[in-house]
């Protein structure tokens, strides 16, 4: 909804035009010092500015719902800064609150798998998985959108099939493949699995985007003698930047947050990824809430910050990825 008043004319009216001698703009020396006041008395304006009871109620409910939705995360955040004794009493008790970074310190150097190391591992796996998927995905999407070739329908069908498949279905085959080629329990192995898994949706997503790029652009370039590779590099890639940003954000979040693939393919504690470490922090008898909360906050920081920064691309990509 626009905030503009549709009844305010955007063009100067006939009288104004006559006053200014038929000119479109008021000459500089005729500009009044103050803006013309609206021709409404204060009573009408107050009534118009005061929301109705129905609207106030709507705001109240909306804010209550949104706050309710993040209460668990507020609790997690509070718990990560407080000693265990206080957390057990309830993080919502604010009196006598002790703020400490002890949980973060312990999580960072957690004995089984230090969080610092785990976050580093996660980064090492995530960055190549995202970049390679973007490049190879864009390359494969281009022919899908713009050319006809044999087996196109078959490939298309396979992509849809993989998008519907659960990650568990590819775990057994990939486990044996990685064992055979000696990449099991290595960064490279997990990166390859993530690339193979991500390519399906990325190709489909970018293809839908490329279909919207007008053919005339390419044709003009072809007439100028550009090869297909030059067209791809100088026209297709730059024009699909917004879609590529969406792909990067969503693929980053997916790979960073992934739990099942690391659980299956990373077995040495020094190669554990951050999401893998979190369930280990639960402890045996008394759950170590503070430690677990600090670890969780460290792990979720990257995707959440990325989401807040690139919210528009994230949301648009999410909607386009499933709705198109």
């Amino acid at each position: 909804m626009t905030e503009d008043n549709p009844f305010t004319p955007t063009e100067p009216s006939a009288e104004t035009r006559a006053e200014t001698g038929g000119q479109r703009y008021t000459p500089v020396d005729e500009i009044p010092d103050v803006a013309p006041s609206k021709e409404l008395d204060w009573r009408t304006r107050i009534v118009a500015a005061t929301p109705t009871a129905w609207r106030v109620l709507k705001y109240g409910v909306a804010i209550a719902v949104a706050v309710l939705w993040i209460v668990p995360f507020v609790g997690l955040f509070m718990a990560s800064f407080r000693p265990l004794g206080e957390i057990i009493q309830g993080w919502w008790h604010l009196e006598g609150m002790t703020v400490t970074l002890e949980n973060y310190r312990r999580a960072w150097s957690y004995q089984t798998a230090p969080m610092g190391r785990a976050l580093f591992n996660t980064l090492i796996v995530t960055v190549p998985s995202v970049l390679v998927v973007m490049l190879l995905g864009a390359m494969a999407a281009y022919p899908f959108a713009k050319f006809e070739f044999p087996l196109k329908t078959t490939l298309f069908f396979l992509i849809l099939l993989v998008m519907a498949a659960p990650p568990e279905l590819v775990a057994m085959g990939n486990y044996n493949t990685l064992r055979e080629i000696g990449l099991f329990d290595t960064y490279m192995g997990l990166i390859l699995v993530h690339i193979g898994w991500g390519l399906g949706w990325v190709v489909l997503f970018l293809r839908n985007y490329l279909l919207g790029i007008p053919k005339e652009l390419e044709e003009a370039a072809r007439i100028d003698g550009a090869s297909r590779y030059q067209i791809f590099r100088t026209i297709i890639l730059p024009l699909s930047t917004p879609a590529l940003v969406s792909v990067a954000v969503i693929q980053f979040t997916w790979v960073w947050n992934a739990f099942f693939f690391p659980l299956v393919f990373m077995r040495s504690p020094e190669l554990y990824l951050a999401p893998q470490v979190l369930p280990l922090m639960r402890g045996r008898i008394q759950v170590e809430w503070g430690l677990m909360a600090a670890g969780s906050v460290l792990t979720m920081a990257a995707p959440v910050i990325l989401f807040l920064l690139l919210e528009r691309y994230y949301k648009r990509g999410m909607v386009a990825a499933v709705a198109d």
Binding site: P72, A79, L136, M139, A171, G196
Partner: protein, 319 residues
């Protein structure tokens, strides 16, 4: 083949001295663009799926394929009480088997999260600050699902959990318990957590569908005297109906894949006495925890795919 490609083919034929019907340059370009990506896709996605489909008809010695056994693995899996436990289903007592529990999850989760998502999208549609409100609700969907599982553990804890505190405050103290570890109610507690996360996603899809509606349509309906209910039924609903199909199907796919939340709450057993195990957990346990049973793992994973494949095909056909 479009006209443009046809012309391209002719032009290519003029330049090269070879067969005019076959554009060699185009074929090479296609290969350069397609082969790297599709090779990785084939090896690490399509290959393993085919491998599982074939392997489900063979007997396995740990990780090595043995001999063809027909539908043996399939029969064995469906008779396994860990997958479907008929006796407990009849008495409506958990554990009812992973397949039953997974389907129960779908039946509860999908309608509720769809309705909540639509409700919130309508509620936030014309408020100031709606972007912040939407982001607050959507936040859970960007967080690792394993963290969601641990947060649920925290929320439902008898001492430190805010949910039990809420029960105490409203005077239902006798209900306080460790919700995620009580076999007969834990699955509902986890489903509530799943709904909590997915509602944000559904709201986002509905919001984008709502913002695509021309506001003048609603205005003219208002002028014609249509109340909120009529406006919803006759204008908004017909326009967001196609999105509902997507929301429902994505919800089913999400629930059929659910793994992290259950793992965080109940480990690889899927809760005390497997009382809220789901298919994903059964695959993991069969494939990667001794005694290893690859045949069963493949059958269960294929069941997961077979349940959602027709729905995905429906989405594909819709476009």
């Amino acid at each position: 083949m479009s006209l443009r490609d046809h012309i391209d083919g002719l032009e290519g034929g003029h330049d090269s001295t070879g067969d005019p019907a076959f554009d060699r340059e185009k074929a090479i370009a296609l290969a350069v663009f397609l082969v790297p990506g599709m090779t990785l896709f084939g090896i690490f996605s399509v290959g393993p799926i085919v491998y599982s489909a074939v392997g489900s008809f063979f007997s396995w010695d740990a990780f090595t394929m043995q001999s063809f056994v027909g539908l043996d693995n399939w029969f064995r899996t469906f008779r396994d009480p860990l997958i479907v436990h008929w006796e407990n289903i009849r008495q409506y007592r958990f554990p009812m088997g992973a397949l039953t529990q997974n389907l129960l999850w779908v039946v509860l989760h999908v309608p509720i999260s769809t309705l909540l998502g639509l409700g919130m999208a309508l509620l936030f549609a014309d408020l100031r600050g709606r972007r912040i409100l939407r982001s607050m609700v959507f936040l859970g969907f960007t967080v690792p699902t394993i963290v969601i599982g641990l947060v649920l553990l925290f929320v439902y804890d008898p001492q430190a959990g805010v949910f039990n505190e809420l029960l105490r405050v409203v005077g239902q103290g006798q209900l306080v318990r460790n919700w995620t570890q009580s076999p007969q109610v834990a699955i509902y507690a986890l489903v509530a957590g799943g709904i909590w996360v997915q509602t944000g996603f559904n709201m986002l899809l509905y919001s984008s569908a709502l913002s695509a509606i021309d506001p003048s349509l609603i205005e003219s309906a208002k002028v014609d005297g249509a109340g909120p209910y009529r406006r919803f039924r006759d204008i908004i609903w017909p326009l967001v109906k196609p999105v509902t199909a997507v929301v429902v199907i994505m919800g089913i796919i999400w629930v059929m894949r659910v793994f992290d939340i259950v793992y965080a709450a109940g480990g690889t057993a899927g809760g005390p006495n497997h009382s809220y195990s789901v298919l994903g957990i059964e695959v993991y346990r069969a494939a990667f925890e001794p005694p290893i049973d690859y045949g069963k793992a493949m059958v269960v994973a294929l069941v997961q795919l077979l349940i959602v494949a027709p729905l995905a095909a429906y989405i594909a056909r819709m476009n």
